[in-house]
Symmetry: C2
Subunit: 148 residues, 2 copies
């Protein structure tokens, strides 16, 4: 019976941008999770909070569209932010089906701290990258996003 090979590699998969993208994503997201942990936030709750801070009164369905997260999956996320007192649901009196989502003062305070931490996180992570590198990467990723 053969012993396990000593030369093992992932050459075949390396030929795929998707594979490389996923591996790069893993590095960033696991690192980001550590950064957000002290704030009791995950990537998705941070993102949702960021949107609500940026667009006060945004609806869950709009949040869903912007974040590309299915509406049902956002309910628990919004619940979580609300239970922690970071945001409020305010019923829209002109369309009583809908709720506007607003940050609380606590939410604004926490977000500004988390934002600074995440910015610092990326700054450290990409300290070896020039502004031009970042600009190129950003542009390439934007092109991928807009493919379909």
């Amino acid at each position: 019976m053969s012993q396990a090979p000593t030369s093992k590699n992932d050459t075949a998969l390396r030929g795929f941008v998707g594979y490389r993208l996923k591996r790069a994503m893993n590095v960033i997201s696991s690192d980001l999770a550590v950064t957000l942990k002290p704030f009791g936030l995950r990537m998705i709750t941070f993102s949702a909070l960021a949107m609500i801070v940026e667009t006060r009164g945004i609806r869950l369905s709009q949040l869903s569209e912007l974040l590309s997260v299915e509406r049902p999956n956002l309910v628990a996320i919004v619940d979580e932010l609300q239970k922690r007192g970071l945001i409020e649901r305010k019923r829209d009196e002109t369309d009583r089906r809908a709720y506007g989502l607003f940050p609380t003062p606590t939410g604004l305070e926490l977000f500004s701290q988390a934002l600074a931490a995440v910015q610092h996180h990326e700054q450290v992570l990409f300290s070896g990258f020039s502004d031009d590198d970042i600009a190129q990467l950003t542009q390439l990723l934007a092109r991928i996003e807009n493919i379909s």
Copy 2:
């Protein structure tokens, strides 16, 4: 009560490479899932099969390390490939704790077809990208992967 705002955006999050990376990844992975579906493969089962084809006799623990997937999570994936008759576990007689993973003829045949489909998929997806674009992107992603 305020109506939901008409100007809604994700400007704050757009400043983060991680956010853009995740969105680009979503585009590619959901598209890739469609490509792999006819073969009864997912991204992870395709990747595992690719590794086993490339490095015949590879162990589950080596697969785990190469794919950055925890060992326990690979057991079900290897089980799935084996149940479909695409790979075999062969006990390593020199180290009876271990099993070498080998593709079957069926597995080799399916993989070659799936590989061609995935290659074609990326070719179409990146048809608007020059070779230089791909090379740049690949290099930038490799640098991210090697950050830590």
